[in-house]
């Protein structure tokens, strides 16, 4: 019997065949490889959040190897001389060790913190993109809800995370959190003592926050992110309107290889930027704050940026205490409204928004094409209003720093915030609405009359008019180009956009095409005549 030769070249095909025999993978694989994805820079904002989350997991796992989540009192004996001999919790001591006695620990800690800030920031920016372009409309309401939840779960992840080192700043934040829980009517004191295991601060809260921060919340985040991406995959991404793009198709590139390569490259860039930040920019220098002691605090105690709006709302709240004269008397403290009720309303409103809008517009169709913000003035204005609200609160969260740096009275800053929170959001609504209408009108004007050319023409009767370049070549029945329909996409408004007046010399740092050389001597003609530029007319020829 002849022994068959081993054919190396056939190995990949054979093993692929063997895999398909068992898992029937070829057909689904073809579908994945073939998936078409529409491309636009604004679709990548959510990716930044995803990539930061991956960095968070990687750096976070590193940190858990060295962090000790215990509030046992120890006396610090590490490298950082100024705190040596200070009694502190084991959590704070191990955080100091991470920063000073673990080789490369500080850069990992700072990368983790920066990645968390970037995670929340990109979630917010991504959310704004989705909101202002109407990407949350049917059939994507579920994904909008998941996205909103991701913000709040990320918020919890951030808060539990920066509370872990048990330093002077985060301990104060924890004290405020306990005050917030206490303020809940009826059950407040029971909730607080159950979470803290007794009176604040107790001895267990860091361990509980640790397990929440490294297991429960990340688990929830992974689940929500998977559902979020799965739904994007299943429902297919929205796309901007444009030539050939309809509500029923997806115009773009197939997933592989170019799109995936670009994603991979982008991930590395995000990772690299986080690494640069982690090395170059100090974040949360816990060794300056000292261990948490109930009687120590410094001015300019600010939380991470995504918590500042709640700090701001707390600062602006007037001292309105509600007394309920039943029995011994009960109290609803003023802290309850800006820290429990306000976030509750914000969660509810953001979750409900797609349904509220659909109900108001009686719009129950599928929407796969995005809208330009100007085309939906009411929504855009409402978004601007929400943004103004958020910004006033966030600035108020740092109003003591603003007062200090700009030499403004602290009380004046508080009053400015109180007045601003009532006045600025409606103003933002009004102005955004007007700007949207103005932009819409200008689009229609350009479509009807053409692009401004900057060429001034004098008419026989002495008047001066600006020549407009119509966007349509067709001649209407009255000799003018007919007005074009608006299709929901960018209208060219400058002559360069029409390719008419390109920049004189192309190239960014240096010209990539050389201007025609001047003749060596006046007697010789130029080597190449300059290309004639076509004259821009007004549509009617001047002959």
């Amino acid at each position: 019997m002849k022994r068959r030769k081993f054919d190396v070249a056939a190995v990949p095909a054979k093993s692929a065949g063997a895999l398909d025999d068992r898992f029937q993978a070829a057909t689904p694989l073809r579908k994945v490889l073939n998936k078409v994805f529409p491309d636009h820079w604004s679709f990548l904002l959510g990716e930044i959040a995803l990539f930061s989350f991956i960095v968070l997991v990687l750096t976070g796992v590193f940190l858990t190897f060295f962090f000790e989540p215990a509030m046992t009192e120890v006396v610090y004996d590490g490298s950082y001389a100024p705190l040596r001999g200070t009694p502190m919790s084991a959590a704070y001591a191990s955080s100091l060790d991470l920063s000073f006695d673990v080789r490369g620990g500080l850069v990992m800690r700072q990368m983790h913190h920066w990645a968390a800030l970037l995670f929340m920031a990109s979630i917010v920016v991504h959310m704004l993109r989705v909101f202002f372009t109407g990407a949350f409309r049917k059939p994507r309401e579920t994904n909008w809800i998941i996205g909103s939840l991701l913000f709040w779960v990320g918020f919890l992840a951030g808060f539990t995370g920066y509370s872990l080192p048990d330093d002077g700043l985060s301990g104060t934040g924890l004290r405020i959190a306990s005050g917030i829980m206490l303020s809940i009517p009826v059950i407040g004191s029971w909730v607080t003592s159950s979470i803290f295991g007794g009176e604040f601060p107790g001895t267990i809260i860091i361990s509980r926050f640790f397990i929440a921060h490294v297991l429960l919340i990340p688990g929830l985040l992974v689940a929500l992110i998977s559902a979020h991406l799965g739904l994007v995959f299943k429902q297919k991404h929205t796309q901007w309107p444009g030539p050939g793009r309809t509500n029923e198709n997806v115009v773009g590139e197939r997933f592989f290889p170019r799109y995936v390569l670009k994603q991979g490259g982008f991930f590395m860039v995000v990772f690299g930027v986080i690494a640069l930040f982690g090395g170059l920019f100090q974040i949360n220098p816990i060794w300056y704050f000292g261990p948490y002691e109930a009687w120590v605090v410094s001015a300019a105690s600010q939380p991470d940026w995504y918590v500042m709006f709640l700090d701001g709302s707390t600062r602006l709240m007037p001292a309105w205490q509600i007394d309920i004269p039943i029995g011994d008397g009960y109290v609803i403290p003023p802290l309850f409204w800006p820290t429990v009720v306000l976030p509750g309303i914000l969660v509810g409103l953001s979750l409900m928004y797609p349904f509220l809008e659909a109900r108001r517009l009686k719009d129950h169709r599928h929407h796969n094409l995005l809208q330009r913000p100007r085309d939906v003035p009411a929504r855009t204005a409402a978004g601007a209003m929400a943004l103004a609200f958020f910004i006033v609160l966030t600035l108020s969260g740092g109003n003591d720093v603003i007062a200090d740096k700009f030499h403004i009275s602290l009380n004046a800053m508080t009053w400015a915030g109180r007045v601003g929170i009532l006045i600025l959001p409606p103003l933002a609504y009004y102005f955004t609405h007007r700007i949207c209408l103005g932009l819409q009108q200008h689009d229609r004007e350009v479509l009807a009359h053409g692009v401004e050319t900057g060429i001034i023409k004098r008419l026989p009767d002495g008047r001066f008019v600006e020549v407009h370049q119509p966007l349509s070549a067709a001649e209407g029945h009255d000799g003018h180009a007919p007005a074009l329909d608006y299709v929901g996409w960018v209208v060219p408004k400058k002559m360069n956009r029409l390719g008419a007046l390109g920049p004189a010399i192309r190239g960014f740092f240096y010209p990539i095409e050389k201007p025609a050389e001047a003749p060596v001597s006046p007697g010789h003609p130029p080597v190449e005549p300059r290309p004639e530029r076509e004259e821009i007319g007004s549509g009617e020829s001047r002959r």
């Binding site: 009176e199 297919k236 773009g252 109930a294 707390t314 802290l335 508080t414």
Partner: protein, 361 residues
């Protein structure tokens, strides 16, 4: 340059026989796309193979990858050999962490830009159109799914045998509660154990009044605090300075003569006439708003400011809140001087310390 531009609708194209040996690989790719309702309407190489432009791009990408290699090697060298440990007198090396960050960042950015350049500039550009297929399932399918589920319910026969349903619910609810009980039951803690929310470390023990002590544990004589000065004091008990008694830190203020008179008059109005000792008054440092230490004392105006949310308390008027979100005054600790000449608390605070809550009387 290979440019394929098709303008037929995918439905209109005949399916190809992929086993046809004349087909190119791209033809088969297109056929696969067709089967997924994708039409590749435009496919264009960005660089011509074998040209200078292609070689230049390849060099650029290679340069990025080599940069990554160099930066990563630098990272390792710095990580291993750069002096990093803290030493007394010198501190840590201020370049260690920045250098790690920069080399790691450059390494990652190198891969990133290398891959991006590869993907964006070297690979063919295409425009493909895929059908969305986001129509709902057909009415028939919906009916089949619905009927199947109803049939399942029929098979279970809960409607015909209501006892099953009732007993199932009656059995499952307690089991669900059993799942939740250990968690809730284990966590739940009575906030009113030992009356802890209404007492502090200054509560007299066995009839013995508690001394006021400093951070380092020494008791305080009136002469220790100069006029207009203030001092954070703690109960002189075991762990009185530590976070075990986080509700006890107190601010002892030596008021000036005229401020002390105002303060005494205000005390008298509240029936706290004997809370001060001489010109000394002691107020809880724990803000009644959210529990931060209200620790910024402005001597000229006798205001105490909490730096967390800027509540301000007027010390000469029973520490009444005069600005900001706090709604309740800081509790005052009644103090006196014992026979040895040290400050003691006459009794515990007579009002509740710290942030407000529902059942605070």
């Amino acid at each position: 340059m290979s440019t394929h531009t098709e303008h037929q609708a995918p439905q209109g194209r005949e399916p190809l026989d992929v086993n046809d040996p004349r087909l190119s690989r791209f033809d088969i790719v297109q056929e696969g796309a067709r089967r997924d309702d994708i039409e590749i309407v435009h496919y264009e190489q960005q660089v011509v193979p074998g040209t200078k432009a292609e070689r230049r791009l390849a060099r650029t990408i290679a340069l990025f990858f080599l940069l990554t290699g160099a930066a990563a090697t630098a990272f390792l060298v710095i990580y291993i050999w750069w002096p990093w440990q803290w030493e007394p007198g010198r501190g840590g090396d201020k370049w260690y962490t920045p250098l790690l960050g920069v080399t790691l960042g450059i390494a990652l950015l190198g891969i990133g830009f290398g891959i991006l350049t590869w993907g964006k500039k070297l690979l063919a550009k295409e425009v493909s159109i895929q059908d969305r297929h986001d129509q709902p399932s057909s009415a028939e399918d919906r009916r089949i799914a619905g009927e199947t589920m109803l049939f399942l319910a029929d098979e279970m026969g809960i409607r015909r045998r209501p006892l099953l349903g009732v007993s199932l619910v009656a059995g499952l609810l307690p089991v669900g509660a059993v799942v939740a009980a250990p968690l809730i039951g284990g966590l739940i803690t009575n906030p009113h154990k030992n009356n802890q929310m209404f007492t502090t470390g200054f509560k007299p023990q066995d009839g013995k009044k508690i001394r006021l002590i400093r951070e380092d544990g020494r008791p305080i004589r009136p002469a220790d605090v100069s006029v207009g000065g203030q001092l954070t004091v703690f109960p002189g008990i075991d762990g009185g300075v530590s976070n075990r008694h986080a509700d006890s830190p107190t601010l002892l203020i030596h008021l000036r003569e005229d401020d002390a008179q105002k303060s005494r008059a205000a005390n008298a109005r509240e029936g706290h006439g004997d809370y001060m000792w001489g010109n000394f008054a002691a107020f809880s440092k724990i803000c009644t708003h959210a529990g931060c230490p209200a620790s910024l004392y402005e001597q000229q105006t006798n205001r105490l400011l909490c730096p967390c949310h800027q509540s301000q308390f007027l010390i000469t008027d029973n520490a009444k809140p005069v600005f900001g979100p706090a709604s309740r005054r800081l509790p005052q600790l009644p103090i006196e001087v014992d026979e040895e000449g040290f400050f003691v608390a006459k009794s515990d605070y007579t009002e509740t310390i710290g942030p407000d809550f529902w059942e605070r009387p």
